[in-house]
Amino acid sequence: MAVLTASDLRKGLKLEIDGEPYIIVDFEFSKPGKGQALYRCRLKNMITGSQFDRTYRSGDKFNSADLEEQEYQFLYKQDNSYHFMNTSNYEQIELSTDTVGDAVNFLTENLVVSILLFEGRPIGISLPNFVTLRVVQSDPGIKGDTAAGTTKPATLETGFVIQVPLFVEQDETLKIDTRTGTYVERVK
């Protein structure tokens, strides 16, 4: 378990507080005038989802949350549960819509993802940084229409809508950055 200091605090960091894993969901660095830095955090319990605010200052120390990540392959969705298989021991697990969260925008059959386990319990999912997804709908771009910007919306096979450059056409396959939910390039 790594010991962290206040300057390590940022959105997305996972800490252990009173034996429970917490993630920083909102973070604001503030430093009034010539005063000392304050690190204002909104912490979310990664199991119960409950949140609270706490302000830390330079010099405070923390333990990182002792979490384990394992590779799973997405099999199928049934009702409100998502089924995955461990790629090394073939065990299957079920995740709720809440646990899957925004990852649902990028989840296609056979995609290999990391599932976060706290004491063996699945509590979250992290996607590869890049996935490839097919465009199922996008209107043709209008050439030279720079006033309207250089992008247009496109609907992906998961139902997720992103902004893409005008040259992207329906049925093309795109590389998407799952961290930002943005278009990277076309895949031939």
């Binding site: 604001e28 503030s30 010539k34 830095a37 302000t55 771009g141 992008t151 390039e185």
Partner: protein
């Protein structure tokens, strides 16, 4: 003209496209700041970006350089050396660097406007602030008010002036001067006081506790406060100004105490700014102020974060 058939595309195209109008606003703000000071007869100066002896500060960390010295955290010391040499009204717009500062309202490198007046005090700076912000708002067509994050802002509404004591009594229910607590002062300021300051017009928070004086002069009639003020707008700290301390002995004593404090906290140490201290021996009464330009642009452009008004925001490290 975009070329629809080309696959030449950079991922940051989208973010940079989105910033176009805010970066144009930024350019207008910079231009109008220069216009304002030119009209007032100020001389624009440039001072070094690298220094070997930054002003010792308890809570501001310079970024050290491999070859020695560090990047400036403010051009203050060099600008005061110009004042000491008789330059009467000077301003500078420059990039400054502060290690480890990263948030919606903090970048480890940011654009600072500093201006100084010889034979003057903080009252003249406060007048400058009003004149400057009204001038800039006029230049970027914000003179009739606009909404920032849902709150109405209007540079031409009456500007309020609160002492630190009054503001704490009103919003936090205690007097920070009689019940001084170093550990909670900033926390209460940030959480209870600041959110109320500067609606719809900017406001001054004045008479800072003497413990927070840094390079400011003590108040003439009250040794518990100093002639330091902050300018707030829409709960955002925009500027920090003061009547400058011109007592070389007192300044050396304050620097020495900060250096000792830094040593105790195991923080990197730099040389005592001797040339600056020497210049204080001849420096006449003067006043100076530093204003965060990126934050001003953020307000004027109704942008939620500094990242929105800087073309290439620094990464979270």
């Amino acid at each position: 003209m975009s070329n629809v058939s080309s696959d030449h595309w950079m991922p940051e195209q989208i973010t940079l496209d989105r910033k176009r109008s805010r970066l144009a606003m930024r350019a207008s703000v910079l231009q109008s700041i220069r216009g304002f000071f030119q009209e007032k007869g100020f001389l624009e100066v440039q001072t070094p970006t690298r220094t070997w002896a930054p002003a010792p500060e308890s809570h501001i960390e310079p970024i050290p350089l491999l070859e020695g010295g560090c990047l400036i955290t403010s051009p203050e010391l060099h600008m005061k050396r110009l004042l000491a040499a008789g330059y009467e009204k000077i301003f500078q717009i420059c990039t400054v660097f502060r290690r480890g500062e990263r948030g919606h309202r903090h970048h480890p490198e940011f654009t600072l406007l500093e201006w100084y007046r010889l034979h003057s005090d903080q009252a003249a700076l406060q007048e400058d602030c009003e004149g400057l912000l009204q001038f800039v708002c006029r230049a970027v067509h914000r003179e009739s008010g606009w909404k920032y994050g849902g709150n109405w802002l209007d540079v031409n509404a009456p500007w309020e002036k609160w002492t630190v004591r009054e503001a704490f009594l009103r919003y936090a229910g205690h007097d920070p001067l009689t019940q001084w607590n170093q550990d909670t002062f900033e926390e209460v300021l940030v959480q209870k006081v600041e959110p109320n300051l500067g609606f719809p017009a900017p406001c001054f928070l004045t008479h800072y506790p003497a413990f927070q004086a840094a390079l400011a002069k003590m108040s003439a009639h009250d040794s518990s406060t100093c002639e330091r003020f902050e300018l707030y707008w829409a709960a955002i700290e925009l500027a920090n100004g003061f009547s400058e301390l011109t007592d070389a002995m007192e300044q050396r004593r304050r620097f020495e105490s900060v250096l000792k404090e830094r040593e105790k906290a195991d923080l990197p140490s730099y040389a005592m700014p001797e040339k600056f201290l020497k210049s204080l021996e001849v420096l006449k009464p003067c006043a100076g102020i530093a204003l965060g330009v990126d934050r001003l642009v953020m307000l004027l452009a109704d942008a939620p974060s500094l990242d929105d008004v800087v073309a290439f925001p620094p990464a979270f490290t």
